[in-house]
């Protein structure tokens, strides 16, 4: 891929992020809170949480094949060739990554123990 196209793609991602800043800040705050809660409230089971996060990522990515087209007034039947599918996978994977970032600390919290003396 030529350098210009890479530069252009980076700028598109950046401007897209700026246009959706509120959502991204809320998402980042939620992830930070969950990781903070996992650390503060008990003995997080990071390895188990990681597996939970991966499962969530895969499920959300697969689900993305159906809900991502609907988000932009289209449907999976509009996909016609491999470039469409590759891009749908890429977009769905972004949602999968967000699910992973949310579910990893959640899984770690629920699978982990509690600090000695911690409340139920």
């Amino acid at each position: 891929m030529p350098l210009y196209e890479i530069w252009l793609a980076m700028n598109i991602v950046w401007e897209f992020a700026l246009a959706n800043l509120a959502i991204l800040i809320i998402l980042a705050a939620a992830i930070a809170l969950l990781f903070g809660a996992a650390v503060v409230k008990g003995k997080p089971a990071w390895c188990v949480g990681f597996k939970v996060g991966m499962v969530a990522a895969v499920l959300v990515t697969l689900a993305g094949f159906f809900f991502v087209p609907a988000l932009i007034d289209s449907s999976i039947s509009d996909l016609t060739y491999w470039v469409d599918w590759a891009n749908l996978f890429a977009v769905s994977a972004v949602f999968g990554a967000a699910a992973f970032a949310l579910c990893w600390p959640l899984g770690a919290i629920f699978a982990g123990g509690r600090r000695p003396g911690g409340s139920a």
Binding site: E5, W14, N87
Partner: protein, 467 residues
């Protein structure tokens, strides 16, 4: 045309460049609002942070020290992109932007609003958010160009002298050429047009939405002049058919297209594919059929053939694409093309490769105003602005323009909700996909994704002078 200036031609050698002080490599001056937004957004998302690090470091490059007075006329995409780049790439230049417009409209989104895909607020931004720091913004319009004296006069009578001029005014929508046409009536009695700003496209969608509920006869038009976004009349037609189908009223409707030309699109292979598709859908095309009058109350349109024969069509819905030309101030100036195919519209007379004025060597053009064969699109601006800026800097530095523009333009041709073609081509009409895997004439969800989600971010990056 008769009152157009015939001022004497001025040779490029007569340009007296201002002093070039030095050229050196240094970090760029602060990027103003753009820089602050980059910093603000750095916490937003990991992917964006990664991009931000590169975006912030990339613009460091050699800058030219000069005391040149540069005037940019117009604050649309092209004017803003040029101003942002000049601020970054010149050190000490006196840069002025002349335009009264405070609202910035994302015009590539007009077809999306006009066909019910986007809400109108997505095409409305503020020029103040895109204007670079360090430029003088004169909130007036140019009334007169005086290139023989390197000056222009604003509509308040203010004289602005320049060493270099960049014309980026966009074009004038000449609805007046259509007898009976009233742009203020868009939205009433089935009268629509996706060109005349946010209010008109909002009204266009309301009229289309009403029309699709009951069906009827729709008349779509295309003028004979060069127009911006030559795909818009076609996209509107495709989407109208799609909306009728969604509403279940297509079978009892009649959609016909009147082109004042012998084609509906200037690139032969695309023209052919569109005509084939419309033939399959029973959408007839009338060639060499120019809209010359509209009776809004009676819902009746008059078309004229090149031989002067007139036909009248009743309609329930009409999409009017106005003839276009240069704004009056440029049309009547010595900068306008004096002869050839671009003279009738008074388009800026530029060399099609360097985009430098043919007779005034200190004048460049960019965007819709250029009298070039194709490409009055945002994609053309994206590709040509870096070349115009580089060539202008070459001229300031006493060199010949080094960059050549090949006429690149792009048209995401919406076919229906969820599908589009991502067409890119050059002056010669050759298809030039940016990425080799893209099939330009393949019905594509990816092209739809580009159009509805990704092209506006790209546009904003262009306006800020980054791509």
């Amino acid at each position: 045309m008769s009152n157009r200036s015939n001022s004497a031609k001025r040779s490029q050698e007569n340009t007296e460049p201002p002093q070039v002080l030095s050229q050196h490599a240094e970090a760029l001056p602060p990027g103003g609002a753009s820089r602050r937004r980059l910093l603000l957004g750095a916490a937003a998302a990991p992917v964006a942070v990664g991009a931000a690090a590169t975006l912030r470091s990339a613009p460091t490059r050699a800058s030219l020290q000069t005391n040149a007075r540069i005037v940019v006329v117009g604050s649309g995409l092209a004017g803003l992109a040029v101003a942002n780049r000049l601020v970054r790439e010149l050190d000490g230049a006196d840069i002025t932007v002349v335009d009264r417009k405070e609202e910035h409209n994302y015009q590539p989104g007009y077809t999306l609003v006009g066909t019910g895909i986007w809400p109108v607020d997505k095409v409305i931004d503020r020029n103040a958010d895109l204007m670079p720091e360090g430029v003088r913004w004169v909130r007036e319009m140019v009334a007169e160009y005086d290139p023989d004296h390197n000056a222009l006069i604003t509509d308040s009578g203010k004289r602005i002298d320049y060493d270099y001029l960049v014309v980026a005014t966009g074009c004038h929508l000449d609805y007046e050429q259509i007898e009976g046409m009233d742009p203020a009536a868009i939205g009433k009695k089935g009268l629509t047009s996706v060109y005349n700003g946010p209010k008109a496209v909002t009204e266009t969608w309301k009229a289309m939405d009403t029309f699709r509920q009951r069906g009827g006869k729709a008349v779509m038009t295309l003028p004979a002049t060069p127009i911006k976004c030559a795909g818009a009349p076609l996209k509107t037609t495709f989407m109208l058919v799609d909306r009728l189908r969604q509403a279940g009223t297509f079978e009892r409707s009649q959609v016909e297209f009147h082109s004042a030309l012998g084609v509906v699109f200037g690139v032969p292979v695309i023209n052919q594919r569109i005509l084939e598709r419309w033939a399959d859908w029973n959408v007839p095309v009338h060639f060499s059929s120019k809209l010359v009058a509209v009776d809004i109350d009676a819902q009746r349109a008059t078309f004229e053939s090149p031989e002067g024969e007139r036909t009248v069509e009743d309609y329930d819905f009409i999409h009017v694409v106005p003839p276009m030309r240069a704004p009056d101030s440029l049309f009547h100036s010595p900068l306008a093309a004096q002869e050839g195919p671009m003279a009738a519209g008074g388009w800026l007379e530029v060399d099609r490769e360097t985009l430098r004025h043919r007779r005034y060597g200190n004048v460049f053009g960019v965007g819709d105003i250029n009298g070039t064969p194709r490409g009055k699109t945002a994609a053309t601006v994206k590709q040509s602005v870096p070349k115009v800026v580089a060539n202008l800097i070459d001229v300031i530095a006493g060199r010949e323009p080094s960059m050549r523009f090949d006429g690149y333009t792009s048209c995401p041709m919406i076919l229906r909700e969820g599908s589009a073609w991502l067409i890119e081509f050059d002056y010669e009409g050759r298809l030039t996909p940016s990425l080799p895997m893209i099939e330009p004439l393949q019905d594509s969800w990816f092209a739809w994704l580009m159009k509805v989600q990704l092209l506006k971010p790209a546009y904003m990056a262009v306006a800020k002078g980054r791509v």
